[in-house]
Every structure is written in structure tokens, then in C-alpha cells.
Amino acid sequence: MANTLVQKRQNILEVTGKRRLNDRHFIIQLTSEEPLPMMLPGNFVQVLVEGSPTTFLRRPLSIHEVNYAQNSFRILIQIKGDGTRQLSRLKNGDKLNVIYPLGNCFSLPQGKEVLLVGGGCGVAPLLFLAQFLRQNSIRPVILTGWRTQSDIFELEEYKKSGEVLMTTEDGSAGEKGLVTDHSLFRSGKLPFSRIYCCGPDPMMKAVAGLAASHGIDCEVSLENTMACGIGVCLCCVTPTVSGNERVCVEGPVFNTKHLTWGNPDKEACQNKCHG
């Protein structure tokens, strides 16, 4: 579902809140002077990073939560390099140049039983999605995967919109292992009509594989590296059944049936096509 009717904009927004979640993650709240455009779960923003000598391009970041009444929204950021470290130093009152809203969005499911799967920073768009589903009378099951107990954040927020399950790699909280090791996936037939997933590529591929084996529709949100974010540089493409598509425009949300993941015939075709 494309969000093409909404005009994209480049605005200066004010930092009106900041919260550290753990040693690598934080949330910033940005407030606009004018009313926000309509934003949908899966949409992202492109943030200009100032003051970092090695950061040349904007940083694409998922919309984590929107508050239209206050003209504000939140983004969840993982500190990965100098650019995101610079963003972690922002203070209330600082200004950020943001291009938004970008990309497509998750689609509403056919049925009411849905599963959200997120790992680490990949939970970023899932809070917004869970809240959106709740507004549409759907109470999702939300499976979150973490490295260890001290990494866990915001579970209370997710619990407001659905039933929360979790795994940790070291077993310090929830079930031990990766999200795909959760007992949910060993309980025979999965009672879901749709799975939504965001996280590291190997996790999304594994979840997509489980979804396919249960005959469940699956949407993933990809995080390919981007330059422009508005569909002109063609750097962020992902192979699909209809050729290379832009993660920033045709995505970031894709139905996994449209991707070439795990389909050797389609992948072989892809590799032949490059010139």
C-alpha cells in the first residue's frame, strides 16, 4: 500500500524529548510547528546529521510512534556509527532537518489474528503498527527477540496493544534462543492470518520461511542502505519477482511472496541480470 497521496516535505523539526533505552538505543521525539502529514506504520524519515565529519548522507529511520494532537512523532535509533552517535547527543530544543514521510506502509490483514516479530532495533516500526492494528480492532501477538535481559525496552508500551512474548539469546528473560526458536512455532498450526516482521535480514528470512511453511502471508520491512530515500539514486534496491525495486519507494515493506528470498530459481535469474 503506497502512501503516494501524502506530500513529502523537508522540514526543520524541534527535538522535544529524548530517552535512553539501553547502551545502544534511544528514542527522540520531534515536533513540527505545522500539522503533521498523515503517517502510516512502515513509513520512514530521512534525518540530516550535522557535526559528524564522516557522515555525508542522511540517516533513514523508521517512525516509531505518532502523536497528531501534539504534532510530534518519535524515532527509535540504534547507535551504529558516527552519524547515529551524533544524533544521540541531541538535546531538547535542538533542531533537525527531516524529509518525511517516506516509503510505503504495512497493509491491514484479512483476518484478526496477527503476529508481529521484531528483533532488536527492528522493533522500531512495530510499536506504531501494533497501535494502528489496535485502532482497527485487532489485538496482535507481539514476539520480540533480544540478546539479553538488559537490552529489553518498552515492553509495557507493546503490552498496551497486544500480547507480548519474548526470547533472549542467553535465556536471561523469556524463552532462550532466537525468535524463530520460540515455542510458538513448535505448536503445530500457527493461528495467524498474517505475520509482520522487522529485524536483521537473517531473522526476517527465517521468519518468512516459517510463514511460508505454514501458508501464512508475511510482510517484512527492509533496511537496505540508502542514499536519497526519495527514489532517484536506485542504491537501495532489492530483487523482486518483477526485477530490482527501490526499498525507499516500493518498500520498505514488502510481502515476502514478492521478494526472491529462498527461491533459487528467482535468485539465479537475478544474478544473471546484472550488467
Binding site: 506530500q7 513529502k8 516535505r9 523537508q10 540530516l48 565529519p53 564522516t54 557522515t55 555525508f56 548522507l57 542522511r58 524529509i99 537496505n224 542502505t225 540508502m226 542514499a227 536519497c228 530515500g229 526519495i230 527514489g231 532517484v232 539514486c233 536506485l234 542504491c235 537501495c236 534496491v237 532489492t238 530483487p239 526485477g243 530490482n244 537475478q270 544474478n271 541480470c273 546484472h274 550488467g275
Partner: protein, 306 residues
Amino acid sequence: MADLNVTLGPLELKNPVLTASGTFGCGEEFTDFMDVNRLGGIVVKAVTGKNRDGNPYPRMAETPMGMLNAVGLQNKGVDYFIREIYPRIKDFDTQIIVNVSGSTLDEYVEVAGKLNDLDKIPAIEVNISCPNVKQGGMAFGTIPATATEVTRAVRDVYKKTLIVKLSPNVTSITDMAKAAADGGADIISLINTLLGMAINAETRRPVLSTITGGLSGPAIKPVALRMVWQVSKAVKIPVIGLGGIRTATDAIEFMLAGASAVQVGTANFIDPAVTLKIIDGLEAYLQRHQINSVKELIGSLKVNGE
């Protein structure tokens, strides 16, 4: 009001600021952010004979003050451009120039011939300099005799303004410029990207799927400026300068070095309205220096105590 109008051979521009191929789509992607009709021109992303899927991901590596790309000319082919894209963009009130690329001489000729019939396209820019395609592309742009040959072949079928875009990945940029001029080019544009490479030390792998790619952005500006200066002295035809321009001052430096117009590329990715800021800044500069026409800047670099 200072006069921003420039004339490059047969091509008239309302101001010297164009967008560089591959960084501005076909213009319509930017209408949410700016009035594209204020531009001197738009150079539409490279069009080839047939659909090209481009190179596999990853295609981009961020570098200090720049980026490497290995897109590989992904586009849906000239017939798709004429049928689907041209009708949507032809009435923009700016000069629409189409970048033309290919793997063979015949492909350049085929694409140029088809574009010759489009009323609202006053010029093409022949890309003999793409580093990201296995055949053709840069191969045509690194051997002078081949550059002359491809320019002449396109010249035979293309009757409007013919721009030839040069690769910086050569021993003598002036030899390449002369070769393109000999082939019948009306205008030279330079530079395309510089061949580069990025490595991920943690994984011990190249960042790009193609291992090497094209470097753009402010990092390449000094190289571009030097080449524009050399070429503008070596050929009689007008020169369009590009490479790392992101401010009006950058654009002015290229014009002082000899460019009659400039293209803005990678900077569009960071600020989609940057070109309008450059046009406004150019006008402010002319007023501040009490210069009536931007034409007076072209090649007016003062050297050796002049």
C-alpha cells in the same frame, strides 16, 4: 536583477544550474520539494536501448564527503521512456535533456535516433563514461579514437544539441575532450564519477557487489575543477562542469574555471531543494559583485597577477 541566462552553442538556459543524470530521476520525484520549473535544465537519468536491471545490491558505500555507487544504469529502456515518462515531464518549463547510454555503438545510435523525434527534448547527453557497466560505458570514454567514433555515429542521427559527458578516469582529459569535439559534440560535460573502492575490514569483503564503483560528492570537487579548467582551455565548444557541487560558491568556482553551466548531482540526495538555493546564491553573488550577467563569470579566473 542580474541576468542568469546562458547560451551553450545552440542550447539556451534560463540559468546555468542543471541537475546531473542519475541524481534527479526525471524531475517529478522532486516536485514535492521544489519548483523544478526554476531550473536551467534537468538531465534525465540514463536511458539505454533495452530494460536494464542494473547491478546487484549493495550498490552504495558512504565515504568521507562523498559516496560510491554501482547502480549500473538501471532503467526501463528508451521505448518505455518515450511512452511512459516523456508525456509526464515534457511540459516542465525547463530544458529537459536525456542522458543516453549503451553497451555497443549501435545501442547509442538507436537510443539517440529515437530521442531525436521528441519535440520537447532539445538535447541529449551521451554518457561515454559510466564506470559501472562491463562493456561499453567507460570503455568508449577512455580511448580518444573510440570517443570520436561514438560521438560521430550519434551525431549522424541526432540533429539537436549533442552533449558528450566525459570520464575522469583517463590519462589525458584534454585528449578525450578534443576527441569528442572532433566527433561533432556541441558541448562537453565533465566529470562523471571517479573509479573507487570501499572495503569492510570486519568482514574482509568489498562493500559493493561490483567491488569497484563511482565516487561522487564534494570529495571529488578539486579534481573536477582542475579538469574543467584544462578542458575549457583545450576546446572551443562550451563546457558544463560538475563534480561535488553543493553551494552557489562551488558553482561559481566552476564557472570561473571555464564552465558555461553546471550540474548538481549527489547534493540532491542530501537536500532535494539544493539547486534552488544555488540559483538564489548565484544571483546574490552577482548583485554583491555588481556583475550584470552571469556570462561574465565564465572562464574569468585571474591567474599570474592578471
